[in-house]
């Protein structure tokens, strides 16, 4: 800033602010040869406690400052973490991990098997009140411990010396290694956790790190912090960034202004902004493993509606009637894409061919728009059940986005002869409660996968699952899922086929009506390389990130 500009400031801000403005200019010109980047986050960081993380911000931060047995790499692949070797025995029910001896915490302590035992026991301990403890289900005694019926020491994890860890499962879990890349399964340093007590993980200093980066500058409530290269990390040679700065920006136009003034290298875009920046070279869409779909209540208290929804032609008509392309483009416009099925795209790849799950399991009729066909099937279906008119309600959240969605679907459905749709937009909690109690005709639901395996979606629609709100009921589907989780659990390709067939079954039955897959539109500077993004679990893995 020179005198001239300072003079202009005077005119705007008044003489009293002149001196102060000049002070501020020092910060703006910090050029150094160190590799740094400025990222934005749309929400605060609520915790750095590995047991308590439930949101995307904390799981992203914990994943890059800590490390578990494995680290999830590109396309959900399993890459080395603290475990050097793994032996699976007892029909897939016992895992023996050999840990690397050069892994250290940022306070100099060694990372040992005991840290895993402590971390896991802490997470399932009802006193910790972890909201992700249910992911431990399937590990010996986990469910009983979470429910306070067994002591935490009975959890199926034992340390055999400092560098050997033995985990016992109730039944084989095919995706167990993937779970190990989820932050709630990372080791925790007992002496640090005990030292800080209830303050553990509430600031960047009341925490210890064993991952590629360590965090500084987070007071627990402020809106900016920095990830700095962790020189105690066992694979520090692979880490190229010196620091990654984070700033919470809740207003997307602020994010865009920061990006355009080179103060941020990554920002998310609103649907309005997407329109203007679609062709920008920095424009990037990041898909998430989150599918929005309509459920039809087969156990509706109104017997006419229940009868209608049991009719396949009527279910298909309701699906054919929705023009998903138009909806995603004009109503959402935020980078979200048309659902290719119930399981989301870019979640998992065929272990043999490398093809995406949604390609293998694609059923065009389940997600296509065809109004003529919709009307024809509707007429046939209504004739079969002997009705001419149908009044149904469409339940959803009361957010602006959800209201737009219900309006769109209402408009699409009411083109079917004799169908009237009433929208019910209620608060999230009410929607959830009414969905689970079966107190709805149709509801727009969403599901986010916890880990990069199709089962995270598919297990939902077995006939006895409590989240199967529409009570989809197919013996064929149930047995396929049972096989995938039981007899085929140790056979990757047979299991894959089971899951593909289950998805096909669900789509052929039109058990649910998938609408769209959620995505985030970003502007990410093209000189940022090596950022690994996964659609489920922890999104960002920045271990190999670099600036070119």
């Amino acid at each position: 800033m020179n005198l001239k500009t300072a003079a202009k400031v005077t005119a705007v801000a008044g003489a009293s602010l002149l001196f102060l403005a000049a002070c501020g200019s020092k910060n703006s010109s910090s050029s150094s040869s160190k590799a740094t980047a400025n990222m934005t986050m749309s929400a605060e960081l609520p915790t750095m406690d590995l047991s308590k993380s439930t949101d995307v911000v904390s799981s992203d931060m914990l994943n890059n400052t800590n490390e578990g047995l494995y680290r999830i790499g590109k396309n959900g692949s399993i890459t080395p973490g603290i475990a050097k070797a793994t032996k699976i025995s007892n029909g897939g029910k016992t895992y023996t991990f050999t840990l690397r001896k050069n892994a250290k915490w940022s306070n100099g302590d060694k990372v040992t098997a005991k840290d895993f035992v402590y971390g896991w026991q802490r997470t399932v301990n009802p006193k910790t009140a972890s909201q992700y403890a249910y992911l431990y289900s399937g590990i010996k005694n986990a469910d009983q411990i979470v429910n306070g019926k067994k002591p935490v020491s009975s959890l199926g994890i034992k340390a055999d010396g400092d560098y050997k860890l033995v985990v016992t499962l109730d039944k084989p879990i095919a995706y167990f290694k993937k779970l190990m890349g989820f932050v709630n399964f990372y080791p925790q340093n007992e002496s640090v956790a005990k030292k800080y007590g209830s303050k553990y993980g509430t600031t960047s200093t009341a925490m210890v790190y064993n991952g590629p980066y360590k965090m500084t500058g987070w007071t627990g409530t402020n809106l900016s912090w920095t990830l700095k290269k962790n020189n105690d990390y066992w694979d520090k040679k692979a880490v190229k960034m010196d620091s990654i700065k984070y700033q919470v920006v809740k207003d997307q136009s602020t994010g865009l202004n920061l990006f355009n003034s080179n103060k941020a290298d990554d920002t998310t875009l609103s649907s309005q902004q997407v329109k203007n920046y679609k062709t920008n070279k920095n424009y990037l869409v990041r898909k998430t493993a989150s599918t929005f779909y309509v459920e039809l209540n087969r156990k509706d208290s109104d017997s006419t509606i229940a009868k209608a929804f049991k009719n396949k032609k009527i279910r298909q008509a309701l699906s054919y009637a929705i023009n998903r392309n138009e909806y995603v483009k004009n109503t959402l416009g935020d980078g979200s894409t048309v659902a290719k099925g119930y399981v989301s795209q870019d979640l998992a790849k065929n272990p043999k061919t490398g093809k995406d799950f949604t390609d293998d399991a694609y059923v065009a009729s389940g997600v296509t728009y065809n109004q003529a066909k919709a009307k024809q099937l509707w007429k046939e279906g209504m004739k079969e059940i002997g009705e001419t008119k149908l009044n149904i309600k469409l339940l959803s959240d009361d957010t602006d986005g959800a209201k737009k969605s219900t309006e769109y679907i209402q408009g699409a459905w009411e083109k079917l002869p004799g169908l009237t749709v009433t929208n019910q937009n209620v608060p999230f909690k009410t929607r959830l409660q009414r969905s689970q109690n079966g107190n709805f005709d149709t509801v727009i639901s969403a599901w986010n996968a916890d880990f990069t395996d199709p089962i995270s979606f598919l297990s939902l629609f077995t006939s006895d699952n409590s989240y199967n709100n529409g009570r989809y009921n197919s013996a064929e589907y149930d047995s396929l899922i049972k096989k995938a989780e039981g007899t085929d659990a140790n056979n990757a390709s047979a299991r894959w086929t089971d899951m593909v067939n289950a998805e096909k079954q669900l789509m052929n039955d039109q058990g649910v009506i998938p609408i769209y897959q959620k995505a985030e539109a970003h502007l990410t500077r093209t000189n940022l390389k090596g950022i690994i993004w996964n659609t489920a679990g922890t999104n960002y893995n920045l271990k190999y990130m670099s600036v070119k």
Binding site: T5, S16, C23, G220, T221
Partner: protein, 309 residues
């Protein structure tokens, strides 16, 4: 005076107690939970988590625990930030809001007085009209519009000021300006009206007749007398500014309390809602009390209580 003060302080605590009680029961009518992942938790897991936060106890017991906690200086734990005490949350978020509010108040009042005085002295000239237009604009243009314009033109286009963030004094300037517009306009209008009255009063005529300089008249006689009623304005203005502006804080990514308060309402984080409400009430009561005391000191005609004790 002491008796009056004691009475006022007693009322202050009574008010706060009523506010705490009312907020607690109102919050119980729209209960929020610390459950972050409600869609995926089983009923027994939910129960375990609620018990951890003491939400399994009957409401009356929760109430006594809560009120008891306040006396011990504890406002409970936040639902959004795990293990974070509400009092810590308020404490650390208050700083930036207070700083911005204080700066905006100073800027607003100083420039408001200047603008108002110019308007009154140059009554019915172009300067007066310009001052009036500016103050109407200051009141009519919402702070978020101003914030967006300031950020775009002075932050992004010219690069004179940081666009957003909170790491140094320079970062406070744009939000201060955005916040100062409305108190500036209000002060200007207030001072102008008041000074027009004062300037036409007898003692000003006398001063003029005695041949005092124009500056002397305005500074020593007109302005001083116009400032006394300003004190009543400053109390509420200070309270409004220092409790933080959600929009301005959001736009400039300021880690302030205003933004946090609104968010806690949206996510039903009621320990935070209650904590902040009580804190705001205390701040407002205190500022009003201060206003009354200061008013009595600077203007002896006003007695704090009618009995003259």
């Amino acid at each position: 005076m002491r008796k009056y003060l004691l009475k006022r302080i007693f009322y202050l605590f009574l008010t706060l107690f009523i506010v705490a009680t009312a907020t607690f029961f109102l919050m119980k009518l729209m209960p929020g939970t610390p459950l972050q992942n409600e869609a995926k938790l089983t009923p027994s897991e939910k129960a375990a988590i609620l018990a951890q936060y003491g939400l399994d106890k009957p409401v009356w017991l929760q109430y006594f625990i809560y009120i008891g906690g306040i006396f011990k200086g504890s406002l409970g734990l936040s639902f959004q930030f795990s293990d974070q005490a509400v009092s810590y949350l308020i404490g650390s978020r208050m700083g930036p809001s207070m700083q911005l509010g204080g700066q905006a108040l100073v800027v607003g009042i100083i420039f408001g007085i200047i603008l108002g005085a110019i308007g009154a002295i140059r009554k019915d000239t172009w300067a007066d009209r310009l001052a009036t237009i500016l103050s109407i604009l200051g009141i009519a243009v919402p702070s978020f519009v101003l914030a967006i314009l300031l950020q775009y033109y002075l932050g992004l286009k010219t690069g004179w000021f940081p666009v957003a963030g909170w790491s140094g004094f320079a970062y406070t300037l744009l939000p201060t300006l955005a916040l100062a517009a409305s108190p500036l306009a209000e002060t200007a209008r207030f001072i102008r009206t008041d000074m027009v009255d004062v300037l036409s009063s007898d003692y000003i005529e006398l001063a003029k007749a005695k041949g005092l300089s124009k500056f002397g008249i305005v500074y020593h006689h007109a302005l001083r007398n116009s400032l006394i009623p300003m004190v009543t304005l400053i109390g509420p203005l200070a309270a409004a500014l220092m409790t933080g502006s959600m929009v301005v804080e959001n736009i400039f990514s300021v880690p302030g309390i205003g933004e946090q308060f609104v968010k806690s309402i949206l996510v039903n984080d009621y320990p935070t809602i209650m904590g902040v409400t009580i804190f705001y009430s205390a701040l407002l009561c205190l500022l009003l009390l201060l206003t009354d005391i200061v008013y009595g000191i600077i203007d002896p005609r006003i007695r704090l209580s009618g009995n003259g004790d």
